[in-house]
């Protein structure tokens, strides 16, 4: 690790291959991990939605609708469907080749990006991505209906974990790794913000009117989408409040799916980047700015002044940073 050697290199007069990488390769690594992360989060989201549809059939429509909203897919869905039946929504979010946000499409994109950059990956990492693609495609082709859904979603999360595991266990800690890490964290921050945003009304002071407990199933769904229900209970015991959940998912740097954790990682990763130059410092400056913004707003203020507005702003900041990374490191001609 080279956290102390990050001081400004001026980018010119490079060569050692540890420093240089094609901009297109950086882009492929970054997007491979964004898609992989997206796939994994969509699997979590569908899992949570499925559970709610099982336990609360009368609200089925709104649950699946909110799941689609989180994936920014409601409009596209309604073009080809006119109800929110579990089977149709699951088919659309998981298997549909024509839905660019489906698990199948994200997986194909992740693998295609890995294929483009396979010379930068370790053999283990490439084989993990390729293996995930092969196995999950077989599983998706054989998927027969909702009785198999939990098993399918489990496999998806497991394959994603396998890729991250081989990546962590075999890849050099150089810029190749850093671009992958950035992609994963940018995507994860976005997804966590979206999960919260879809449910922000549950956490509003008006709906959680003083004294009335939060809707148990609703908050469980939020936590479940971030695989955080167990951790939350462990840390907070029975003390469940809107502020505690927001604080946990936004601010708690111990939680690897919290926005603060993602930004802490993004910030350190950008600072360690070997390919840093004056131009690429713009990305680091922006990350620092956003990171400070996140940490500077307490959950009470966020809820008081508008959780939705805070999250919308955060999603915009996040995609702005993603675009800045792409520019700074010359992803595109």
């Amino acid at each position: 690790m080279s956290s102390q050697s990050q001081t400004q290199q001026t980018g010119v007069g490079l060569t050692p291959s540890d420093q240089t990488m094609l901009g297109r390769t950086a882009s492929g690594l970054f997007w491979m991990m964004r898609y992989l992360e997206r796939m994994e989060n969509t699997a979590r989201l569908v899992d949570a939605g499925f559970r709610m549809s099982l336990t609360r059939s009368r609200t089925q429509r709104s649950e699946w609708e909110s799941v689609l909203t989180t994936s920014s897919a409601t409009q596209a869905y309604l073009k080809t469907h006119d109800d929110f039946r579990t089977d149709s929504v699951v088919e659309f979010l998981v298997c549909d080749r024509d839905n660019p946000g489906s698990i199948r499409s994200s997986l194909a994109e992740a693998r295609q990006n890995a294929r483009m950059t396979r010379t930068a990956l370790t053999i283990d990492t490439w084989e993990a991505v390729n293996g995930a693609w092969l196995q999950l495609n077989i599983a998706l082709d054989n998927y027969k209906g909702k009785q198999e859904l939990p098993e399918l979603l489990f496999q998806i999360r497991q394959q994603a974990a396998l890729v991250r595991g081989t990546m962590n266990g075999t890849m050099l800690r150089n810029d190749i790794f850093r671009f992958m890490e950035l992609g994963a964290m940018i995507e994860r921050a976005d997804n966590t913000a979206r999960i919260l945003d879809t449910k922000y009304y549950v956490l509003l002071p008006s709906s959680a009117s003083v004294g009335s407990p939060l809707d148990h199933v609703q908050w469980e769904m939020i936590l479940r989408c971030a695989s955080a229900e167990r951790s939350f209970h462990w840390l907070h015991g029975g003390d469940i409040s809107a502020a505690a959940i927001v604080n946990f998912l936004v601010h708690d740097i111990r939680l690897p799916r919290s926005i603060a954790f993602c930004y802490k990682t993004i910030r350190t990763t950008l600072a360690e980047m070997k390919a840093n130059s004056e131009a690429s410092n713009a990305a680091l400056d922006m990350a620092i700015l956003h990171n400070d913004h996140i940490n500077g707003s307490s959950s009470e203020t966020i809820i008081g002044f508008g959780l939705h507005e805070f999250l919308i702003d955060l999603i915009a900041r996040n995609s702005e940073l993603s675009a800045q990374i792409e520019t700074s490191y010359r992803f595109q001609p």
């Binding site: 980018g11 240089t20 094609l22 297109r24 483009m116 010379t119 390729n130 690429s280």
Partner: protein, 476 residues
Amino acid sequence: MTKPLVFFDEMLGPDGEVRPAYKDYDAVVAGVDKAELLKKSAEAERFFRKKGITFNVYGDTDADERLIPFDIVPRIISAREWKKIQRGIEQRVKALNAFLHDIYHRREIIRAGHVPASLIDNNEAFLPQMIGVDPPGGIYTHIVGTDLVRTGPDEFYVLEDNARTPSGVSYMLENRETMLRMFPELFSRVGVENVSDYPMMLRQSLAASAPPACTGKPTIAILTPGVHNSAYYEHAFLADQMGVELVEGGDLRIVDGRVAMRTTCGFQPIDVLYRRVDDDFLDPLTFNPESMLGVPGIFDIYRAGGITITNAPGTGIADDKALYSYMPDIIKFYTGQEPILKNVQTWRCADKDSLAYVLDNLAQLVVKEVHGSGGYGMLVGPAASRAEIKAFRAKLIANPRNYIAQPTLALSTVPVLTKAGLAPRHVDLRPFVLVSSKSISVVPGGLTRVAMTEGSLVVNSSQGGGTKDTWVLTDE
């Protein structure tokens, strides 16, 4: 001409006895259960899938990526046979380079009357822009894959020279990897020449061809048309094995008189570009203006000595099948020797008498397009239906210059493993040659392509052909 072809089997003699080259192999494998072999075969296929050793087929929407069938019975060549092949290929490659230099410079072979000027000047693979250009080290064809077929105990013919951008070397290497994994015990019992240092040899060979503008250690890159190209796996594989960048046209730009790649820290010049795109797509400013695969302006940099392009632009003319028919003369002219490897008799349909003969004998001949490759657009007379022959005849009459014809060769067979046991299938052989100003190296091995369908003589992977590991035995 119509008498049935007799095929030479490389493993088994006419009485079923095992030929000498296969004796050691057979001693190990003969005792192995067929079911066990079939299991290994399935295992090999899974291995290829897992590693993503696949190719894309043009015009095939159904499956984007296919595996080339791999057969686990090796194709074995004795040390003595190999020596002859090796010398023959070296001779041919030397002659090819001399020929290419000559036709782009003084054109002595034309003046001497061995090759007609029209064949060169009217050839679309001839690049007038290359006239007078001296490629670094004087080498045109750095990487060659000569296609050979065998018809008898001591009869090897060169079928094609593939001096442009031969592919398949990754399969030579991966096939060996797979065999080593599946049958480690075989390699301890049979002495087989090593092929695995090909990527390092290639790297050295490319580095030895650095352009005048290169000052330090040469920066090498492979130029690929992209992830959708049928040979993308090979491009990525070679880049990986050599430890060089794999670039696309969109990654490159001319910066300060050099061809440079866009990296995360800015543009970095490239010294040697191993291009896997055709001449026509190399530079939209000089060649096909529609091309999105190349680099605008690269040709000017090349001429000014700012970059080495391998193989050199304009080498494609050596792959012309009409020119092929002149190879014996070309070899004699530049080396002063008789060709060591035979050429297949070839009728140039541009020639009136030849055309008449070909039209009369279509059912016995193989007819190919002069610029064709991959087994596309060819007619195998003995295997074709009447309707196919009739349709081909019309094409031939319409544009005779576009075709050559050859007798149907009795391609040798090597057994493949089928569900019913071993069965003979036709094969060819593509050894790989690396050329630099310092040396010519023929890698002891190559790609054996095998027609997986019984009786078929077409071995191309685009037509369903498979591959085998190719063993050259060590000299005891």
